[in-house]
């Protein structure tokens, strides 16, 4: 394996594009080095990008935040303004692994590993987050929801990598939440998960809603019907029942040692309900 720290974004994409063998990018290393150790993936080229400009920055931009690809989960949790605006995104990132893992793991690595159970991805999806890609043909912006295409696979072209994630501005009276089900209290992989992001009007009626679910399909899934089910409501019982029904209908999980199809589907609905209540009260709504 060769280890390279390219001196620019252009050099990095040229290097990745020219590699005929297996290339991996090293940010936190908490997935890629585990796979290396386990000999699940034996890269020929490891490209470290952490030193490149902007990689460690959390910068205010157009009322939202641009997060460099090398920002760790711990650093996200320490950023008070970001956490206040997107608490659900940050709580997803803060559920990744232990203190030690938190200090290294990034949301970009979480996204690019493309696990259906990736804890930071549902929150990014409901936030309408956009990834900035750099490649041999320049830069382009791609919504986070489109990045993972199947377990372990992303839509990134050869030579492309993510330089930052953009979290957009949001109006007052808006918030989000993320919940996962695990059999332990920490350090485990989600059996199912749900994120909800809401906007309310002055009277507390939901004017916009996005719901995403994890670990219940090959990729994290945005459930448009579940969001639509609660728009125009204050999360009354009928709205919640419709939210749960739409969430369950969007689940197509597998049965494995962590949980059965039925259990995953049922808990995804319950988590969507609970996350909706948390997001609603964070946004200032009263039920």
């Amino acid at each position: 394996m060769r280890y390279v720290k390219p001196e620019s974004y252009e050099a990095a994409s040229a290097l990745l594009a020219a590699e005929d063998g297996i290339a991996r990018i090293l940010t936190g290393g908490t997935d890629v080095l585990v796979m290396l150790k386990a000999e699940m993936v034996e890269p020929d080229l490891m490209v470290d990008l952490k030193h490149l400009p902007g990689m460690h920055d959390i910068a205010a931009e157009d009322g939202g935040f641009r997060i460099g690809a090398a920002v760790s989960s711990a650093e996200l949790g320490e950023h008070a303004a970001l956490k206040a605006m997107w608490p659900g995104v940050v709580e997803g990132a803060e559920l990744i692994g232990s203190t030690q893992v938190q200090n290294r793991a990034t949301i970009v690595g979480n996204l690019c590993t493309a696990s259906p159970a990736a804890d930071s991805v549902p929150g990014l999806v409901t936030a309408n987050a956009v990834a900035r890609l750099h490649g041999p043909h320049g830069t382009r912006d791609v919504p986070v929801v489109e990045i993972p295409v199947s377990p372990g696979k992303t839509m990134l072209a050869k030579g492309e990598f993510i330089t930052s994630i953009y979290l957009p501005a949001r109006p007052v009276g808006a918030s989000d939440a993320y919940l996962r089900f695990i059999p332990r209290t920490e350090m485990d992989i989600a059996v199912s998960s749900a994120a909800v992001s809401l906007e309310l009007d002055a009277g507390g009626t939901i004017t916009a809603a996005r719901v995403a679910i994890g670990a219940v399909a090959p990729t994290v899934r945005l459930v448009a019907d579940a969001g639509a089910a609660i728009v125009g409501t204050k999360l009354d019982d009928d709205a919640i029942a419709a939210l749960i029904a739409a969430t369950e209908a969007a689940c197509s999980p597998i049965t494995d040692k962590r949980g059965t199809i039925e259990f995953r589907t049922k808990t995804a609905g319950v988590l969507a309900k609970r996350a909706a209540h948390i997001a609603y009260s964070r946004a200032g709504g009263k039920t």
Partner: protein
């Protein structure tokens, strides 16, 4: 494989070593530099026995490449005592018998020290969550939590 020269600071000392691209910081510390305090429990980020400080943050050294530490500051358990004087956490762990086999102890001490630097007066729950990535097969954790709290109280009073 071509060995790569790396310059880093370990426990305040400028250090140079040669390592392979795919070699972990843990292997570099133990096999090349003779710093065997950090232990390998799992090698995959789950147990925390290999915990060290990297640029002021506690990390699993099994999930860091040696080559990544070029220009970095690394602190290991070997740098925790001040000469012959143990750090309060080290001393209290002995006094309170917060260890049995001791494999997990270097990692727990490093992680606990980083917690107390950030939060000098944690609740038991905060200690438990902070140390969730440090597994111990012997003690049942209770004595570890108590020892961290006792050392924290001592450090606050100092």
């Amino acid at each position: 494989m071509k060995m790569i020269p790396v310059e880093t600071t370990i426990n305040g000392d400028q250090t140079e070593f040669l390592c392979n691209a795919d070699e972990s910081l843990l292997d570099v510390l133990r096999d090349r530099l003779g710093l065997t305090g950090a232990k390998e429990g799992c090698g995959t980020g789950d147990c925390g026995a290999c915990s060290v400080m990297l640029n002021g943050r506690v990390v699993c050294s099994c999930l860091v490449l040696g080559v990544e530490t070029q220009g970095a500051e690394v602190e290991t358990i070997e740098g925790m005592a001040d000469g012959e004087t143990l750090h309060p956490l080290q001393r209290v762990f002995i006094e309170e018998a917060a260890l049995q086999c001791g494999i997990c102890t270097p990692g727990i001490l490093i992680a606990a020290k980083s917690l107390l630097a950030k939060n000098p007066d944690p609740t038991d729950t905060e200690v438990r969550y902070w140390l969730a990535g440090n597994l111990c097969r012997c003690t049942g954790y209770d004595k570890i939590i108590k020892a961290v709290q006792k050392a924290a109280a001592e450090m606050r009073a100092a």
